[in-house]
């Protein structure tokens, strides 16, 4: 544990020093650049700090993961990790030492901007918006406090993220815990959660999400300011993005998407706004985009768009007298950005290429699959993905009036994390109108348009809208229209919303601001209520706070001897709980259990199967014996054929719902596998 604390402290020190060195130059006083009057040094510092901290956090682990890939021996343990961090951090350390004079000066500049007096002045200028920001901070603390009393929940967490984390904690390996499709995704979230599992009580792993709101909010704010939006409008949009249920419920719930959303938003900010950092902005953007890919590989879509955006920027906006021609600037920009992306995502690409012959496994890229033979996972059944959209709309045409007409309810199964919310609904049509006016006047209007500031801003706004459209259309064409997959479109749109709000004036503007603030606060009220109710129902109104009681499984699972290995034949979400009270049991994942016990069941249906659909389930197979499994966990409605060589002996069962004392329709049964029986 001590080694891990030292590791985190070194990450903190390295990222803080490097972020100070990278900080945006002074924005006022003699020598300041008047063109950068709308820069936001504190926001950009926070974004860069987060990207650098997590880069220093992951890169040493990836380095050891590569060693494991080459040698086959797991490597990610405390002391080797510190040594790897020193290797990875050495260039940053040398840079900070060489530039220590500048580092100290930058730190003083930034302290002046972020000092108490400066922040108080800032609060006094926009009290309503700052109050909303404080509300987000208070909600985060409240969320962390409530969750620390409970146990980890959420489907993805329990099905594969936390099992991958525990596998890493137990073995020091960055290889997937199981070869089932969902277990083989890039696993940044699992590595992050593993730190909490190592250092804190199990319940605290539920509190991992709110910190990622900091880079998310800071990125949207800084992007909005770079588009020329006012401070009030920028703050409103930055807080407003948290009021999008798709984003907010991820941050305050058990989901696993918010970190990826935050890092792709940071990458979008660093590419589209190009803050004047003292280190390469595009390199940091690349690091951030690679981190986003490692959390959710679906952000590859946004990375492709950012590459195209770089080309557009270099061709149309970044040239000028005395600069190199675009043909030499474009490759350099792409290489610097791509280098950053590869540094923080290369390990996952290489691992999956070596293991499965496809760097983006278990996904399959269009064209690439045929061109390079990169095939997706056999057990990832995508035939039903088109139907998932009908959780949100009743027909395909319904998307035209979404989110004004939608029919899902809060926490209704899979769609609980969805929804675009009232802020989006309020601003989206107005932003299209404002953009239309800006394009019309900026591109075709008389010279007065230039004085209005449209001429400079309309191409940048169009680039933001193009980014949102690209992400949405990519998932549309892929026939997978769940809003959460296109969440990066929010990062492109919200700065435009802020710019739209800045076009308002006088009393009308004030009325709109107040209405939006009330809408945001009301949405936060909904989050707070549902969190509190969930806490009461899951953590207070429970017959017992013991793990087996809260997760509702037979108590014997918590008291199995060392080395026990349980085959999970219930469902995918059951994977995590079977690790038991001490998180020391070994578990055979549900998809692997299906492969072991029902080998004739079609591979492409394994992931979404239920045990009652499997047909003949046969324990007496050499593969089961070789798996080393000692126990099997199943529901009572499943019939399992055993034999003289391998017999199932019931160890414990949970037959009654402990909350209402009614019999369970299907008791939950733990069996021992008696291999010695004859």
């Amino acid at each position: 544990m001590a080694a891990w604390i030292v590791f985190l402290l070194i990450c903190f020190a390295l990222s803080t020093a490097t972020a100070f060195l990278a900080a945006e130059p002074k924005i006022d006083g003699p020598g300041a650049d008047p063109a950068r009057a709308a820069s936001s040094p504190l926001a950009s510092f926070l974004v860069v700090w987060f990207v650098l901290f997590f880069s220093f956090f992951y890169l040493p682990q990836f380095l050891l993961g590569l060693l494991e890939q080459a040698t086959g021996a797991p490597q990610v343990f405390g002391l080797p990790l510190i040594l790897a961090l020193l290797v990875v951090g050495l260039p940053a350390l040398l840079l900070c030492w060489r530039e220590r004079g500048n580092l100290a000066e930058n730190r003083r500049d930034l302290s002046a901007v972020s000092g108490r007096a400066s922040l108080a002045r800032y609060w006094a200028k926009q009290p309503l918006e700052c109050l909303l920001l404080a509300l987000v901070a208070a909600m985060s603390v409240y969320n962390i406090a409530l969750r620390s009393f409970g146990l980890p929940g959420g489907f993805e967490s329990q099905a594969y993220v936390l099992p991958n984390s525990l596998y890493l904690v137990m073995t020091g390996s960055l290889q997937p815990w199981s070869d089932g499709a969902t277990h083989t995704y890039p696993a940044n979230q699992a590595i992050y959660n593993a730190v909490f599992l190592r250092l804190l009580p199990e319940g605290m792993v539920s509190v991992v999400n709110p910190p990622f709101l900091v880079p998310l909010i800071a990125s949207v704010y800084a992007m909005a300011r770079a588009l020329g939006a006012g401070t009030r409008a920028s703050l409103l949009a930055a807080v407003g993005i948290v009021s999008v249920p798709l984003v907010g419920k991820q941050a305050f719930g058990n989901y696993t998407d918010i970190a990826g959303t935050a890092f792709i938003t940071a990458a979008i900010y660093l590419v589209l706004a190009r803050p004047a950092l003292r280190i390469s902005c595009l390199f940091v953007a690349g690091l951030s985009a690679g981190l986003a890919f490692g959390f959710k590989s679906l952000h590859l879509v946004s990375i492709v768009f950012l590459c195209a955006a770089l080309v557009v920027q270099e061709v149309f906006w970044r040239g000028g007298p005395g600069t190199e021609p675009a043909v030499s600037r474009i490759p350099r920009a792409l290489v610097v950005f791509g280098l950053g992306v590869l540094l923080t995502s290369g390990f996952w690409l290489l691992r999956n290429y070596v293991n499965y012959g496809n760097p983006v496994y278990p996904a399959e890229l269009p064209l690439m699959g045929d061109l390079f033979g990169w095939r997706g996972a056999l057990d990832a059944d995508l035939t039903g993905q088109s139907a998932t959209q009908f959780n949100w709309v009743k027909s395909v045409a319904g998307w035209l009036v979404y989110p004004w007409v939608e029919w899902h309810y809060n926490d209704q199964g899979y769609s609980g994390r969805s929804g675009l919310g009232i802020f989006f609904a309020a601003l989206f049509p107005a932003s299209l109108l404002a953009t239309g006016v800006a394009v019309f006047k900026g591109a075709f209007g008389p010279s007065q348009a230039t004085a209005d500031g449209y001429a400079a801003v309309w191409p940048r706004i169009l680039l933001h809208l193009a980014g949102a459209a690209f992400v949405i259309m990519a998932w549309w064409v892929a026939d997978n229209r769940q809003p959460r997959y296109a969440v990066a479109s929010m990062a492109f749109l919200f700065p435009v919303f802020a710019w739209t709000l800045s076009q308002l004036a006088g009393r009308a503007g004030q009325v709109v601001n107040v209405c939006l603030a009330v809408a945001i606060a009301a949405t936060f009220g909904l989050y707070l209520s549902s969190q509190s109710i969930r806490f009461v129902s899951k953590s207070v109104l429970v017959p017992s706070r013991e793990r087996h009681s809260m997760y509702e499984y037979p108590q014997a699972i918590d008291h199995l001897p060392a080395g026990a290995k349980i085959i999970n034949l219930t469902n995918r979400a059951g994977n995590y709980k079977l690790f038991g009270q001490g998180l020391s049991n070994q578990v055979v994942a549900y998809v692997d259990a299906v492969r072991l016990l029902a080998p004739d069941y079609p591979a492409e249906k394994r992931t979404l199967s239920t045990p009652t659909e499997l047909g003949e389930i046969n324990l007496c197979r050499p593969e089961v014996r070789d798996s080393g499994a000692t126990h099997l966990y199943a529901h009572g409605n499943v019939t399992i054929a055993d034999c003289d060589e391998m017999r199932l002996v019931e160890v414990d069962r949970l037959a009654v719902n402990k909350v209402n004392n009614k019999p369970l329709p299907n008791p939950r049964i733990l069996y021992a596998i008696d291999k010695a029986a004859n």
């Binding site: 009057a37 709308a38 300011r225 020329g228 939006a229 006012g230 401070t231 009030r232 409008a233 249920p245 989110p403 004004w404 007409v405 939608e406 029919w407 899902h408 309810y409 809060n410 926490d411 209704q412 969805s418 929804g419 919310g421 009232i422 609904a425 309020a426 601003l427 989206f428 049509p429 107005a430 109108l433 404002a434 006016v437 004085a451 209005d452 500031g453 739209t500 709000l501 800045s502 076009q503 308002l504 004036a505 006088g506 009308a508 503007g509 009325v511 709109v512 209405c515 939006l516 809408a519 909904l526 209520s529 549902s530 109710i533 009461v536 129902s537 109104l541």
Partner: protein
């Protein structure tokens, strides 16, 4: 020239037009959104259940 600091915005019909569109869009959402009211409905139901259980 817009002053991004004081957020005074533009003159003419555009600001008023945008304000009307924003407020109208918000009002339509509040009338038609099943999700928003569904959230509130669900929370009230949960709260009632919790109150009963707490006695």
């Amino acid at each position: 020239m817009i002053d991004p600091e004081d957020n005074t915005g533009r003159r003419g019909a555009l600001p008023l037009c945008l304000a009307v569109v924003i407020l109208a869009s918000m009002a339509v959402y509040l009338v038609t959104s099943v999700a928003f009211w569904g959230d509130i409905d669900k929370i009230i139901t949960y709260a009632e259940k919790a109150m009963k259980l707490l006695g």
